[in-house]
């Protein structure tokens, strides 16, 4: 288990969004959908179910970060996690307008919501979908450094930074290794899917 203070808005949201949320809404609970972090879907369902209210105030919200790419059946166009998450709300009779969902691809999420939620229900009951790009904690509000392109500083033509183990990354590493391309490509590869140590980007020490 990583040392990750999940369910804390400070971690989930960038400062502007946190301010926007906290000034407008009463956050009932938060969730973080990710492969090996704290929230599995059963745990999340239990937390949502146990925090269910008899009557919702207009400012009540659940905030769920959909951290990972979803799973799709072969040929399927609707994510399994998305399906399960929305159906947790529907099956427990919790209004979907209370849900703020943060995803990597808002357009795709909107499409999937339309596929999963019956049209009649969605007309008055739309969840709010926000972009992870601009909302996640590490997307700081500073602009990237506008440095000049300094070709003299370039030491190798290419680099590849591979973190969590994926088959596509393992194939690339194997290829670089087999062909002896380390002189042209600077490689950082975490290798076997060992537990990493999370470093707070705001406080790397």
């Amino acid at each position: 288990m990583k040392l990750m203070p999940t369910h804390d808005l400070t971690w989930m949201l960038s400062p502007w969004l946190r301010n926007a949320v906290e000034s407008r809404y009463n956050v009932i609970t938060t969730g973080w959908l990710a492969l090996d972090w704290v929230d599995n879907l059963n745990g999340l369902e239990e937390r949502i179910r146990s925090s269910k209210k008899d009557q919702y105030d207009i400012t009540d919200r659940y905030i769920i970060m959909h951290e990972e790419p979803d799973y799709y059946m072969p040929g399927g166009s609707c994510g399994l996690w998305m399906n399960r998450l929305l159906n947790i709300f529907i099956s427990h009779d919790i209004p979907l307008w209370t849900l703020i969902l943060i995803v990597d691809s808002p357009d795709q999420a909107d499409k999937e919501i339309e596929m999963i939620v019956p049209k009649k229900l969605l007309e008055t009951n739309q969840p709010t979908v926000l972009s992870k790009w601009s909302t996640i904690h590490y997307a700081k509000e500073t602009e990237p450094a506008d440095v000049d392109i300094d070709v003299d500083a370039i030491r190798k033509p290419m680099m590849v930074m591979m973190g969590r183990s994926r088959q596509s990354r393992a194939i690339l590493y194997q290829h670089i290794n087999d062909k002896g391309l380390f002189n042209s490509i600077a490689v950082s590869y975490a290798g076997k899917d060992k537990e990493g140590i999370f470093v707070d980007p705001n406080n790397p020490t």
């Binding site: 990583k2 370039i154 194939i171």
Partner: protein, 185 residues
């Protein structure tokens, strides 16, 4: 309508596309090039260090001209990208994508510019993941055969695009924030 509740997704990899073993892969120990010596090493630490908005990535990142971006997914039903793709865009670097089909097309649709013809980007529209991987590896091999001086020269040639992409990241982010503000009401 009775909702269909699916079980938790199976905890399998997303990489079944290589189950015929076309690309044999073994398990590898962690490896790090000495040029990365000043960044923390770890599965997530390195990603955080090279996050596009992180203050301490820049001195290290400028040692390279082309970023081979290994996105979170490879065989995926739509072009999905994350902050990893933002990294070269925000930092004035050229890039090759190891990611889903149509990723570069999506970036271009969103206003970013890419590096054809210096980088052969025909791999982007190959639907079959195995064929797409072969094409990307072939292109990486070709780029490796180019001298460092020639790559530097190309980088200067593409300077306008690199500057444009960095500015466009900010525009794109601002647009996204505006949209989010409207959604929040």
């Amino acid at each position: 309508m009775i909702p269909i509740i699916l079980p938790n997704p199976p905890m399998c990899t997303r990489d079944d596309w290589n189950k015929d073993g076309r690309f044999p892969v073994g398990e590898h120990e962690p490896y790090r090039d000495p040029l990365f010596e000043n960044i923390p090493f770890g599965r997530d630490a390195q990603e955080a260090a090279f996050s596009p908005y992180n203050a301490f990535f820049d001195p290290e990142y400028k040692k390279f001209a082309i970023d081979i971006v290994t996105e979170s997914t490879f065989d995926f039903p739509y072009p999905y990208f994350t902050e990893k793709t933002l990294r070269p865009l925000a930092s004035k670097r050229m890039f090759i994508m190891i990611g889903p089909c149509g990723l570069l097309a999506r970036l271009r649709k969103q206003g970013f510019r890419t590096f054809d013809p210096f980088i052969n980007e025909s791999y982007d529209l190959i639907k079959d993941p195995g064929d797409r991987m072969s094409a990307v590896l072939e292109e990486i091999d070709r780029l490796c055969s180019i001298s460092l001086d020639d790559v530097k020269e190309k980088m200067l040639e593409y300077k306008d695009i690199l500057n444009y992409n960095q500015k466009h990241v900010q525009i794109f982010k601002t647009q996204q924030q505006e949209k989010d503000k409207i959604c929040l009401g």
